[in-house]
Symmetry: C2
Subunit: 336 residues, 2 copies
DNA sequence: TTGTACGCGTTATCAG
DNA sequence: CTGATAACGCGTACAA
């Protein structure tokens, strides 16, 4: 069933059918109704491929994400997909894993699929080394690229992120004000957002004139699924002589591991041991005491990202960098 | 840069370029190399839309899922996307929520997008009422539909699921053998898989000649993000006079809530109170004691689903219904 | 207001 | 082995 069949049955030209289809101007109500009736009767649906060829778009946005089953990233995928859908765009999902080459291939692949834009979900796509980000700048020459939870200053690249530096800065100050000493910063990788968090922590420490031992910034290199490996990492640090009475974690999973560690060490939380997580996920309420955590407002971030993307696609100017504030949500693992 | 440009620069016809592009038969090595050189030099990429129009496919599979940020479903999305990618198919993601009309619209929408097949992720798409599933049968007339974690007997619909009935049956027997009494079955919704789980539990109970009080099958109707609401539900049940010393939950989140409930009631786990979860997710290791849980082998299920889908797309006959066995993974919340 | 005719970039079917 | 040329189904100037 094509536009030709409809035009024939309705006794009009295909141009008229096309006009009706696109709610185009100037079609007499009479013929319009006739065409609609025929379409209805034939259960006609325009061919998406032909349409794509003619219009050079299929209203699709590529979603790149290292791991869509990650507790945090899956939330972002969810909100972003909802937002795209609300704006009549489809989401083409591509999970790349951490391999650099795989990320680059994925980006190239999406270009060849002729999506209208690409959203990089998570800061894992941005490296500290500027030259490693050139693949993004290259792709941005062909279509707009939105960064969720990361920042890169480049033409046609738009960054939307939470102010992780500031949030961690304030969290550290809050702990220090509460009289906590020996804060261990427990993070996962050298990603953009984690390094911003660490930087905020260090800034707060140095502002208070406190030294920062390198051993008090502990990186966990395993899978986020493996909580016991995180606990082991903490235990090893402790055995190696690192002293800490508090942990700021770069996500709630690590914070949960910190809590498990504290319990195994028979440390009373929060009296003897304080913990602050990050993301304010459902994990914060699955334990006892519940996790104090930094809410980076993921839903708001995603909403803003979609709004900006729509403006960009419409050809309107938008800010290249959007930063939103986080919020410390106080629960049972801190004394305040 | 089109196929015409390439043909011109290479001094051949577009037909030859197309042949080279598709690794088609009979092109002399000489011209083949010449064409490839020109393509390389021009950084040529074939237009995906034109290709789609000609071949009537863009190698895309629609992924329908009520909520891709769900701990369990996001895992399925992940494995399925990986599998599709490995077979050169793209994943078009569509999250529908629980609204029935939204599910139906999503399915129709994907048809109009001319995807090659559709995967319904999660049992939320299958209703107990047969007539409510007609929208799936209707869509299956146009393209193959794969069901992950659900079963529906209809033409061109292929079901891949874990044997939830059997798994829960065995889990119940294991608890009873360990001397546990008053098992509460804690589940979420009247979905296909949850009702199968409940049925397996009841079967085991009746096999052992034990009565099943309706109050010992407790449904939680809130969000899976809200653990405290689950705990409240359990507490209300207890206050209402329901006695239970053990819980089998239809997912790990509910099981975690059960553990939280037990701790609040100062019940020693597993000595005084046993808990079995479902899905064997990372949640099983985030608590203390760790959760005994039923592993429904999600990765295997997804792998099998992809294998079958590829066969179906290749036009080969495949079984309509594939059931895999689960496995009870014993940890700290049971005495065995 | 309506219709004609061409373009979009491929693939595939024929001849040669 | 290669080259014209016709689909594929729709959007849209341009003409009427």
């Amino acid at each position: 069933m094509t536009i030709y069949d409809i035009s024939e049955k309705a006794g009009v030209s295909i141009a008229t059918v096309s006009r009706v289809l696109n709610g185009s101007s100037s079609v007499s109500e009479k013929t319009r109704q006739k065409v609609l009736d025929v379409m209805e009767a034939c259960d006609y649906t325009p061919n998406a491929f032909a349409r794509g060829l003619g219009l050079n778009t299929m209203n699709t946005i590529g979603l790149l994400c290292t791991n869509c089953s990650d507790l945090y990233l899956s939330k972002a995928v969810y909100y972003i997909e909802q937002g795209l859908r609300a704006n009549h765009y489809d989401a083409l999902l591509y999970c790349t894993g951490q391999d650099k080459e795989s990320k680059e291939n994925a980006l190239k692949f999406l270009l060849s699929k002729k999506v209208d834009g690409i959203i990089l979900i998570g800061s894992d796509f941005i490296s500290e080394k500027a030259e490693d980000n050139s693949y993004i700048q290259e792709a941005a020459k062909e279509l707009p690229i939105m960064l969720f939870d990361a920042v890169l200053d480049a033409p046609n690249v738009y960054s939307i992120a939470s102010d992780d530096f500031q949030s961690t800065y304030e969290a550290t100050l809050a702990l220090l004000s509460a009289g906590v000493k020996d804060i261990l910063f427990f993070y996962q990788a050298a990603s953009y957002s984690d390094s911003r968090k660490l930087a905020g922590h260090k800034e707060a420490m140095s502002k208070m004139g406190l030294p920062i031992s390198p051993s008090l910034a502990l990186a966990f290199s395993g899978s986020l699924e493996n909580i016991n490996a995180m606990v082991d990492t903490l235990q090893n640090a402790s055995k190696s002589g690192t002293t800490f009475h508090s942990i700021i974690a770069s996500n709630d999973t690590l914070a949960l591991a910190a809590l498990k560690y504290a319990k195994q060490e028979n440390l009373k939380v929060p009296e003897q041991f304080s913990i602050i997580g990050y993301n304010n996920s459902m994990l914060t309420s699955c334990c006892d005491p519940e996790l104090t955590s930094i809410d980076n407002k993921i839903e708001t971030l995603c909403g803003e990202l979609i709004t900006l993307l729509m403006e960009v696609l419409a050809g309107n100017p938008v800010p290249q960098k959007t930063m939103l504030s986080g919020e410390l949500v106080k629960r049972g693992t801190t004394t305040f």
